[in-house]
Structures are given as structure tokens and as C-alpha cells.
């Protein structure tokens, strides 16, 4: 599944990165700890988190993640969005909590 299909199927907000929605999703990772994501997330995964500051983009780009989903209505800072465009990793959003978001993503990827 591509990021663009995920946005459709989950009704996610697209905050930034509309030019890089064709990345193939390999899985998901849920964490608000940057070192945890750094150490354990894998290429192509979608990262579900509460963190919305700029450093999430450094992590997402270094780890070659497919996209970041901000949960609970979090919106990215302006410099986070700028970094997202620069690093070509889209930032998506939802009002749902991490639990529901991860559940849906899991279901979609394993259907």
C-alpha cells in the first residue's frame, strides 16, 4: 500500500509532503521516544506519534520512514513542515489516538 492510499482509507489529514505520497508502506511503528524509533523502526514504516516538533523529521528521514502520523489532533510546527518537504517524508494527522490509529493501520496492512 502506498502512503496516498493510506490517507484515503484512513481519512488522514495531509499536513505536508504531497509530492512524496508514492512510497510503499512496509509496516508501522508506534512510539514517542526518539531513540526507540531510531533503534527499532525499519525503512518504509509509518511512524505513529504524539511528538510534533522538528526533530521527528530528522529521525524519520534518517530512518527512511514512509510517513509520520500525528495523533490526537496534533499539528506540526511550521519548521517541522518545512523539514518534511525538504526531507520528502510526508506528515499526516488524525484526531484519533495512537491505539485506534495503529489498529487501523495494522488491519489495512494485513487484510
Amino acid at each position: 500500500m502506498k502512503v496516498r492510499d493510506l490517507i484515503d482509507k484512513m481519512g488522514l489529514t495531509l499536513f505536508s509532503g504531497e509530492l512524496c505520497l508514492d512510497k510503499e508502506i512496509s509496516g508501522g511503528y508506534v512510539s514517542d521516544l526518539l531513540s526507540d524509533v531510531m533503534g527499532n523502526a525499519a525503512e518504509g514504516q509509518v511512524w505513529i506519534t504524539l511528538q510534533s516538533h522538528k526533530n521527528i523529521m530528522a529521525v524519520a528521514s534518517l530512518k527512511d520512514l514512509a510517513a509520520v502520523i500525528l495523533v490526537k489532533g496534533q499539528a506540526p510546527d511550521t519548521d517541522t513542515m518545512a523539514h518534511s518537504i525538504e526531507e520528502q517524508v510526508p506528515i499526516l494527522g488524525t484526531d484519533q489516538e495512537a491505539f485506534e490509529t495503529a489498529g487501523q493501520l495494522y488491519h489495512l496492512l494485513n487484510a
Binding site: L34, M38, E43, H53, K54, A58, V59, L62
Partner: protein, 138 residues
Amino acid sequence: MEFRYEIEGGNFSRAGHASSAVKKILKQLNVDNKVIKRVVVALYEGEVNVVAHAEKGSMMVDIDEQRIRIRIEDSGPGIPDIDLAMQAGFSTASAAVREMGFGAGMGLPNMKKNTDQMHVTSEVGKGTQVEMITWFRQ
């Protein structure tokens, strides 16, 4: 080939710049993707430690055909007990830094796990030096 990047203590908005520059070089050199993935973890954690815990530092990267050697030196408070600092979960990060999702105490363990050799030296009140080596042929 040698490269050097300056790291500013306390400036989280620039954290990751040096690591990202080194990653690009490794990609250009066609280093095995698996090796790049490991090295990137070590670079970032090392860079963030200077930002989070020290005043200023530099990252020196030396790449030849066989291996990458990363040396990160900082001026800062130093580490009083390196064995303790290396333990997973140990962190002296401030509440504000933790709130950002840093300070999980996983940085040094991540660095050790993702390099072939790692050596930390430190002098309290002066600074810390971390040297890491990873071979390209795993």
C-alpha cells in the same frame, strides 16, 4: 576521506544535520545499505548527546575502503561514571528534553549496538570523546 562537522550544544533545531550529511556521503560512496542503516543510528545518537548534554562539539568522520571511523568530541560536563551511562535507561536529561522524546537513556546503548567498536573517554568538567568504528564488509 575526512569530514568534520560542528555541533552546537542546546540547539535541538539543528540536531541531525551532521548525521544526515554523513548519510548522504555514505550513499554516494555506495556503501552497503545495511551498514548505512546501522551507522546512521550511531551518528544521530552521538550528535544528539552533544546537543542534549554538552556545550559544543565536533564530529570527525574518516572513511576509507574498509571502514568508517567516527570521532565525536565535546566540551561539556563530561560523564562521571561511563559504565552507568552505558546502561540502558540511565539518563540525566532534563524534564523538558524528555518531553520532546529524548532522554530515554537508549542513546549510548544504541551506539554500541550499531557499531563494531566503540570507545568512550571523558573528563568531568571538561568533555567527552566517543570513537566508533564500523567495517563495511560485515
